[in-house]
């Protein structure tokens, strides 16, 4: 990293030198530069590295429960050294199985795909792409990371509790999550889950408010909302969704805390458990589900929208072609964001809620398929007659589109309340959301890392390893999740420790074994990425200033941008970010900061007056 000076403010030119960080002169103590940093780029890296660590933990948990599902009759004494008392007589403890499922879901959805994804790329790209020195508030931004860190520590610690971590599923439906008598994980484990999530929500809100105000207020000269790269639009809408929906999760969690600890009955009524009738009456477990999914559904878009943005940007850059239908892309993201607030009850078709509501929510849910389809068609049209360069980021982006199609289409089946009667809570649902959310969002994240790695670390990641990583992951994902649809159609229930007692499901032993094997191999393939990532930070080939010949502003900064991003004045913006392969232009790209007066040969007739 080049020299930085935190006291410098907007508009003050920042001195810059081309030294490497090894022999950099530190104006600031290490601890403020890399740990309690207020530089959005450092905070982004902190989120990224935390996210990667969490992803490996989350993946390890899933490998454990896939072992159980693939080979339900085997004993697994070799796990004893890792899991200790959770292995009894070589068998995985049943409650611990549920804890694994719960923690896997929680970690992946919130800690990896929300914090790790938005935290990394919103932080990193917003100031760089809109032309700002830093976030609106560097201090709140720093707090946002440290609240996330605190939340992570609490959640991680809960894995080692005597009574086990939370085990009621990542959706923590009460009464199960409210009653330690019903499952031990609902004791201290659940308390820590709730506390961790409260800090998580604080972190997320601090981040989102910062992103929104930065995008609204700190755009450089000429950067109107309709010249923003789609990444920024995506991060903007993600942040808006977060600000509107996370507080609802907060209130849901708060009421659950009251029920658990202070004897209220928001969610509890007429319960007899562990030989005792509880005095709670009048509460409704359905209320919790409404509150939870009011966040929960927007949350899935919080996870996927950054992917939309990243993929649009990477595809346009590497197809050397403007993104097709820029305004339609913004429009469809807006449509999806708005609709995502009025479809939540599609998770509750068979929860006992009034069937009339089921009809309404089926209608609203299936409308979402329209803007989603528009996005896919626009991506396809962008590839059409492009001049496509297959960087690893591009491969992951194409993979993203493929997975998003596959998983989105099964949403059309689940969104139909009549069909959901049969498929609710089966592996069909698991397959659906792992393709469309789990895998796609991961692919978006990988695309982002491969693409912006040179900007983050000034070095390139290894392409060959990137290709291997892509193909193993892409194949792995389909091999794992495609067969899950099959067992799901047959009614195979999720969150089952073992299926051998059921005749209906025992016939799928072979498929289950196959899925498990593929899942574990795919998890191991991620170590290739990890190696590539770590190795390239220190040993990677040095990057050029603009290795992908891209139009957006971040590539106009020095290779190692300091705190403040541009050493001199912030470049002004004259055009949209997608002038790729413009007829008449010398190069096949024209960065946003090039005025029209310099590109007379390629200006369209409508742009003549801008010269």
């Amino acid at each position: 990293m080049a020299s930085t000076d935190i006291s410098l403010h907007n508009n003050v030119p920042i001195a810059h030198d081309e030294h490497d960080h090894e022999h950099d002169h530190h104006d600031q103590p290490f601890i403020f530069k890399y740990i309690f940093s207020q530089d959005h780029k450092v905070i982004a890296k902190q989120f990224l590295i935390s996210g990667i660590i969490w992803a490996f933990i989350g993946g390890a948990l899933s490998s454990l429960f896939r072992l159980q599902l693939g080979w339900p009759n085997e004993t697994m004494p070799f796990l004893e050294p890792i899991l200790g008392k959770w292995i009894e007589g070589g068998k995985l403890n049943q409650e611990f199985y549920l804890a694994l499922v719960t923690m896997h879901g929680t970690i992946m959805v919130f800690f990896v795909l929300t914090a790790g994804l938005s935290g990394t790329f919103s932080n990193f790209l917003i100031p760089l792409q809109i032309g700002a020195r830093d976030m609106a508030s560097g201090f709140l931004n720093m707090l946002s990371y440290w609240f996330f860190f605190l939340s992570s520590v609490i959640m991680f610690t809960s894995l080692f509790l005597e009574t086990g971590p939370a085990s009621a599923g990542w959706t923590i439906y009460p009464p199960l999550s409210a009653l330690p008598q019903a499952i031990p994980g609902s004791g201290t484990g659940m308390t820590m889950w709730l506390v961790a999530m409260v800090f998580f929500i604080v972190s997320s809100l601090l981040g989102s408010i910062n992103y929104i105000s930065t995008i609204i207020n700190l755009r450089t000269a000429g950067m109107s909302m309709t010249k923003l790269p789609l990444t920024i639009w995506a991060f903007f809408l993600t942040a808006v969704l977060g600000v509107l929906s996370f507080p609802v999760l907060f209130s849901a969690a708060l009421l659950l805390v009251f029920d658990r600890s202070f004897g209220t009955s928001f969610y509890l009524s007429d319960i007899y458990v562990a030989g005792q009738a509880l005095s709670n009456t009048g509460g409704s477990p359905i209320l919790f589900q409404h509150l939870f999914w009011f966040l929960g559904h927007p949350e899935v878009y919080i996870v996927i929208l950054p992917g939309f943005g990243i993929v649009s940007e990477v595809i346009a850059t590497n197809a050397r072609k403007p993104i097709f239908g820029y305004r339609a892309m913004i429009g469809s993201m807006l449509g999806i964001s708005i609709l995502s607030f009025v479809v939540w009850a599609h998770h509750m078709f068979v929860s006992g809620m009034n069937p009339f509501l089921g009809s309404v929510f089926m209608f609203l849910t299936l409308i979402i398929a329209v803007p989603s389809a528009v996005k896919v068609f626009n991506w396809l049209a962008t590839l059409w007659r492009g001049n496509i360069i297959f960087t690893p980021a591009m491969l992951f982006s194409i993979g993203f589109v493929s997975l998003f199609i596959s998983g989105g289409l099964t949403g059309i089946i689940l969104g139909n309340s009549a069909l959901d009667i049969q498929l609710h809570n089966t592996y069909f649902v698991v397959a659906h959301f792992h393709l469309v959310m789990g895998s796609s969002a991961f692919f978006g994240m990988f695309a982002g890392v491969y693409h912006w790695f040179p900007k983050m670390f000034g070095r390139m990641m290894d392409e060959k390893l990137g290709y291997i990583h892509f193909w193993l992951t892409f194949l792995g994902v389909y091999l794992v999740f495609l067969p899950m649809h099959y067992v799901g159609i047959a009614g195979f229930p999720r969150r089952y420790y073992s299926w051998t007692a059921f005749e209906t499901f025992s016939q799928f032993a072979d498929l289950n074994m196959f899925i498990s094997a593929a899942a574990i191999i795919a998890w191991f393939a991620q170590f290739i990425f990890l190696f590539n990532f770590v190795y390239s930070i220190f040993r990677g080939r040095r990057a050029d200033a603009n290795p992908w010949r891209s139009n957006t502003l971040e590539w106009t900064t020095p290779i190692h941008p300091g705190h403040g991003n541009w050493p001199g004045a912030i470049p002004a913006v004259y055009r949209w970010p997608y002038d790729y392969s413009k007829p008449g232009a010398e190069e096949d790209y024209i960065p946003q900061n090039i005025p029209h007066s310099e590109t007379k040969s390629s200006n369209l007739s409508s742009e003549k007056e801008l010269e």
């Binding site: 409704s284 069937p355 089926m362 005749e503």
Partner: protein
């Protein structure tokens, strides 16, 4: 491209290989509607799936980078956008309409003549209760639950005196059956995959699901060639350690067989007179001993 061809082939092969098994036989009237709707939707999304995936991989293959080439500058086209907004919108409208029809038919109130069976989920099994001769279930109260009276039936309610709690769940073929679903502790889900029936069991909020079974257990045994065929009741909402083992069997009989079975069932209180004696509020309870043992579910 290679991926598309090999992947496509593998997909088709695996689908055919699995199709036989994933298509589990259906045993209810509305189950057929759901299956039809499902495979119709599958065809629609299958077509979209094939077209879009082929285009995706074909374009990627066809338009690979060449130094001397330029991509075609084609930033937008409103006509295209409108076309490909309208097409999915129309298709969705049709699917919504058909889905909505099916859904309302399934969730409309049960017909009057439906036979009532109560089914209660608890950690970790299911308890069934039949209403007895009066075709009415007696009241229940959570604080009356104990080891004998697992449902907390309030026997001061006259309607509960003839209620039956059999050890097996039998239902007759060809008649609407209304399941009244409750839970005693946490949320469970009452799921009968062969009948395409599912509804959560929620503590404090009774739910229901009704359907008409069309095949007896014996019919199914013939159809599947599996002499031991059983309709399995599955718990499909995480409920604790033994969630995965919360299984029960539903037996569908011919109506006459069902009558025979029903007539052998005794009222729950018949051999537990102490339940009536311990009543907190025993006024007006007369145990009609004549009817015991000859209980018939009202037809």
């Amino acid at each position: 491209m290679l991926f598309l061809v090999i992947g496509g082939a593998a997909f088709i092969w695996s689908f055919q290989n699995a199709e036989e098994r994933i298509h589990i036989p259906v045993g209810s009237v509305h189950g057929v509607w759901i299956d039809d709707m499902f495979w119709l939707t599958m065809v629609v999304i299958g077509i979209v799936f094939v077209i879009t995936q082929i285009l995706l991989f074909y374009y990627s293959y066809r338009y690979q980078y060449k130094e001397e080439k330029r991509a075609y500058f084609f930033p937008h086209n409103n006509k295209l956008e409108i076309i490909w907004t309208m097409i999915p919108a129309v298709v969705m409208a049709l699917l919504v309409f058909k889905g909505w029809k099916t859904w309302t038919k399934i969730t409309d109130p049960a017909p009057k003549e439906a036979m009532v069976v109560e089914i209660v989920g608890k950690q970790f099994n299911w308890i069934a209760r039949y209403p007895g001769t009066d075709n009415a279930l007696g009241n229940v109260r959570t604080n009356l639950i104990d080891a004998t009276n697992e449902l907390g039936i309030d026997f001061s309610d006259q309607r509960s005196v003839d209620d039956i709690l059999p050890s097996e769940i039998h239902i007759p073929k060809g008649r609407p059956i209304l399941f009244k679903i409750r839970s005693r502790d946490v949320i469970h889900s009452f799921y009968l995959p062969h009948f395409r029936a599912q509804m959560h069991a929620v503590p404090g909020m009774p739910t229901k699901f009704w359907f008409v079974p069309t095949k007896t257990t014996a019919d199914m045994a013939t159809e599947t060639g599996n002499p031991d065929f059983k309709y399995e009741l599955v718990c499909n909402q995480i409920c604790g350690a033994n969630h995965f083992a919360m299984r029960a069997v539903v037996i569908v009989d011919e109506p006459e067989e069902f009558q025979k079975w029903m007539s052998t069932q005794k009222a729950f209180v018949a051999d537990k007179p102490e339940l009536l004696k311990n009543l907190k509020n025993p006024q007006g309870i007369v145990l009609d001993t004549k009817k015991e043992g000859t209980n018939k579910a009202a037809l």
